[in-house]
């Protein structure tokens, strides 16, 4: 129980933990979808504190981790071009491609710049009319409205030297793919709070009903997560399978309508390959034909990229919740945050990096 003293409110945390343990009559398997939640769970040792009551399986909700290798390789190819300024969120720079990462391209003279917002990338394009500025548009539903706005504004302002390399993914199809897998063990989900701030939770209602799994929209703080777990195990014990909202402070049933509207004007649903998981039908967003001139894949010839993953890395099994990071033979030896082989070791939201940074080198249970 060493971690409990670190909580702002250890009494409430202890109370929630006790109630979870009192509620369960068997061990339930829950998945937290979001990488931010994985970080909280592992940092605070919530999974260890739960003991036999609940097993937490870590979900694929880390955009850095699931961006497919071919998109990383396309980013590397674009960033290497002398006429391109390649822009990206900071956490994509160390994601390994087939033979290097964006930092290595920058070291060789490629122009790679970190931006905080996609609108900063658009501004960079306006200030550098003699260069092509490409923005690496990755992320889940939370980030899509920002990236959609950058494309929308580029068209509105007539910026001709701006484009986006899109690798957007959406949560519900990934949950369905996991539930359809023959080796699935997940019995309930904690859905990602800020994804639902944008999207609301109506998309989850048919999933909860069809697969008979409770889905609890949950925040990112330790007490949020414990509360989300408690709501989920109550449902499981009572044989209910509904969508519940723990994160009422930020999420409404219908989400943020203006944001959803702009996303659907700029992007359309496409099939998307998920790194480590494989192709999932209609699980990604791509640029609509009306905005084709801002799609980097249409603007630049990027065909003929051949990808290779390191054979020893088991990131795919970790992302599907089949293996824990310490079950991978490369974990903590060949693969560390300083020299990552797989994407989940790169981002602080990746399960492998969280396990490494918080000293999880073996199973505690």
């Amino acid at each position: 129980m060493k971690y409990l003293s670190e909580y702002r409110d250890p009494k409430v945390a202890r109370g929630l933990l006790a109630e979870i343990k009192r509620t369960v009559t068997r061990r339930w398997v829950l998945m937290e979808v979001c990488g931010g939640q994985t970080h909280t769970i592992v940092k605070q040792g919530l999974d260890e504190l739960l003991g036999d009551a609940v097993e937490m399986v870590h979900g694929p909700g880390c955009p850095v981790c699931v961006t497919p290798l071919e998109q990383i390789d396309k980013a590397l190819a674009l960033a290497s071009r002398p006429d391109v300024i390649f822009t990206s969120f900071g956490d994509m720079l160390r994601v390994p491609g087939s033979d290097c990462d964006l930092l290595a391209v920058r070291a060789r003279g490629g122009s790679v710049r970190i931006v905080y917002s996609p609108l900063d990338a658009l501004e960079l394009a306006r200030k550098n009319p003699d260069k092509e500025v490409v923005f690496f548009a990755v992320g889940f539903e939370t980030t899509a409205p920002a990236n959609a706005m950058a494309v929308w504004r580029a068209k509105e302002l007539g910026v001709k030297n701006f484009s986006v390399l899109v690798s957007h993914v959406t949560v519900p199809p990934a949950m369905v793919a996991l539930l359809d897998a023959p080796d699935n063990r997940v019995q309930g989900f904690l859905a990602a709070g800020h994804v639902c701030t944008i999207m609301g939770w109506t998309e989850y209602e048919p999933i909860a009903a069809k697969y008979k799994v409770p889905i609890v929209v949950t925040g990112f703080e330790p007490l949020d997560i414990l509360e989300g777990m408690l709501l989920a195990v109550h449902q499981l014990e009572e044989g209910r399978h509904e969508v519940e909202n723990q994160y009422v402070r930020s999420v409404r049933r219908d989400g943020n309508q203006p944001a959803q509207d702009l996303v659907s004007q700029v992007f359309e649903l496409v099939d998307r390959n998920w790194r480590g998981i494989g192709p999932i039908p209609r699980s990604g967003l791509g640029v609509r034909p009306e905005f084709a001139e801002f799609d980097a894949e249409r603007r630049f010839a990027l065909a003929g990229i051949r990808t290779t993953e390191p054979a020893v890395c088991r990131a795919g099994d970790v992302l599907r919740g089949v293996l824990k990071p310490f079950d991978c033979p490369a974990f903590g030896t060949e693969c560390t945050p300083e020299h990552p082989l797989g994407a989940p070791m790169v981002s602080s939201e990746g399960a492998c990096a969280a396990y490494y940074n918080y000293g999880r080198f073996r199973s505690a249970v």
């Binding site: 969120f89 917002s117 996609p118 900063d120 930020s250």
Partner: protein
């Protein structure tokens, strides 16, 4: 990456037709797009901001509490990008 950071809206303005504003995140200020919350927020309100876009309005108490917790949880990556970059 989906984490938003709460901040206080210090200024609201229009940039070539786009609702924008200046938001203060525990002393770090930067330009933020308000288009997705434009009908809900005014100067002095708090909002959750993700990659330069306000995505939801929150009350002051919630904003301050969340900011402190994110700092303790070392989940202020976005703020680090912001501080490290000229806006």
């Amino acid at each position: 990456m989906c984490l938003g950071i709460p901040g206080r809206i210090m200024e609201v303005h229009d940039t070539q037709g786009l609702p924008m504003g200046v938001v203060d995140f525990g002393g770090v200020r930067r330009e933020v797009c308000l288009a997705y919350v434009a009908d809900q927020v005014r100067v002095g309100d708090y909002a959750i901001v993700h990659v330069g876009f306000a995505i939801a309005k929150v009350d002051e108490e919630e904003a301050k509490r969340t900011f402190d917790i994110l700092r303790e949880m070392s989940q202020l990556d976005e703020l680090k990008w912001m501080e490290g970059l000229a806006s």
